[in-house]
Amino acid sequence: MTAISTQGLSKYYGTIKALDDLNLEIPDNAVFGFLGPNGAGKTTTIKLLTGFARPTSGKAQVAGEKIGDNNLALQSKIGLLPDVPAFYNWMSSREFMRFVGEVHHLPGSEIRNRTEELLELVELKKSGNRRIGGYSRGMRQRLGIAQALINRPKVLFMDEPTSALDPIGRREVLNLILRLRENTTIFMSSHILSDVERVCDMVGIIDKGKLVTVSSVEALQKKYAHSIFEMEFIENPGLFVESLKQITWLAEPAIVIVNGTPVIRVRAVDVNYARKELPRVISDSGLTLTRYELSLPSIEDIFVEILTNRDRQ
């Protein structure tokens, strides 16, 4: 089943194309990371998909509801964590959670149970009766996550969910996202690419309103894999590097020091041939191999590479 699908979704502000012809299919229970530089169109996309902005053209469905038709039906099935969650400062977080539960028409007993369960989850149970006005940014972010989950949403939109959190808070939120994926599709935009890499199984990269690529993280890493092999040996690899220089299907072999250890890095001219033949060459060298890998790029490497290539074009 598809949780989010868009066809030619576009949003123009005058002549500015904030979002141009977005076509996306996100399956149920996926964690989708939406990446892009500032002003790329990430927040516009979230606004369109949550019914806070009207598309100039195109259509979209979220959790089985067409956007723009009946936003009330859509909103009962989604949760939203805005980039800067705002609250009524005179309320306590417990009061706010109950209010949100009432707005979702949940029965009283479920509101009480969900409130306590979610405040526990985001570690705000002890401060649940304090006024939100006295909360730190991180506490507000955690409360924002809790309130977005009260209705057990089918699709959860999170705009920069970890940006205001310290490293421990970030880890907790990421673990929470991993747990939520069992029942919820998560659409998160983020600048913190290592977070995306850790929790997302699909990513989309957007630039200047245009979706540049969308793929699973693994497929993207394979597609943009550098043809670089790394090897570590117990013995000094100096002579072996010299012998690699004679092989025509390899290029630029060199020793680099990583964490005080000499590592051979070599680029394959033909990566598939090198995958088959390089282990035999290593075996013939008689050295004791401790590490051998075809290095995969991080999401950050891919992101930078894609956007740099686009700028060159």
Partner: protein, 252 residues
Amino acid sequence: MKGFAPLLRKEIREQIRTYKLVIVGSVFLLFGISTPLTLKYLPELLKFAGDEQMVIQIPPPTAVQSLAEYAGTIGQIGVLVTVLIAMGCVANELRSGTAVMILSKPVSRSAFVSAKLIAMSFTFLVSMAAASLFCFGYTVWLIEDTAVLPFVGLNLLLGLFLVFCLAVTLFFSSLFKNSLAAGGIAIAALIGQAAISAIPIIGKYMPGKLLSWGTDLLSGSGENYWWALAITVIVIVLCVYFSQRFLKNRDM
């Protein structure tokens, strides 16, 4: 009007917890109590302030004079207070982001707007009822007895006029994210309607005529302005309708 009941409960709690009810109530009570007291004791106050040789002839105050002066004060300062209280009701929520938090839930824009208007009206009507009770009590006690029904009629018309002012301000608050801009334009609009109320032919259709009608009830003279009353109600409904339309159509 989905989500109206929890929104209204929240708005009324907000009126109480953010001290709006206390502030408006205190201001109105001050007018309600001070008007008959000032009228009654003005000659004594002037004696303390002035020269003993100076003679000022002040006719003894009447109940109608006291109640009409109270209504006049509410019709001026009270209107200013309605604008101050209502100018940020939607604009501040749009600016701070709480509107996005709430409207991302299954609540209709009309419930969001009308809950605000009803909660603010509650604050002003409760404050006005308390102030009027004190004003009437002090007037009867200090000045003279008078009929209660005309004063009730005056208060109903005055209350409706204040709800009209709240609705106009709420409408402008939905248009702008800046509460000062909303308040400024609302004041300009209310002054504009007051000016039009003074024009003989079309004035009798303007909401401002409710104030003259109320004062006329006290003296038992003057004419009824049913058209002004009907138009006031229509404008209130239109303000709510267009506020929610603007919220529905605007990108947040």
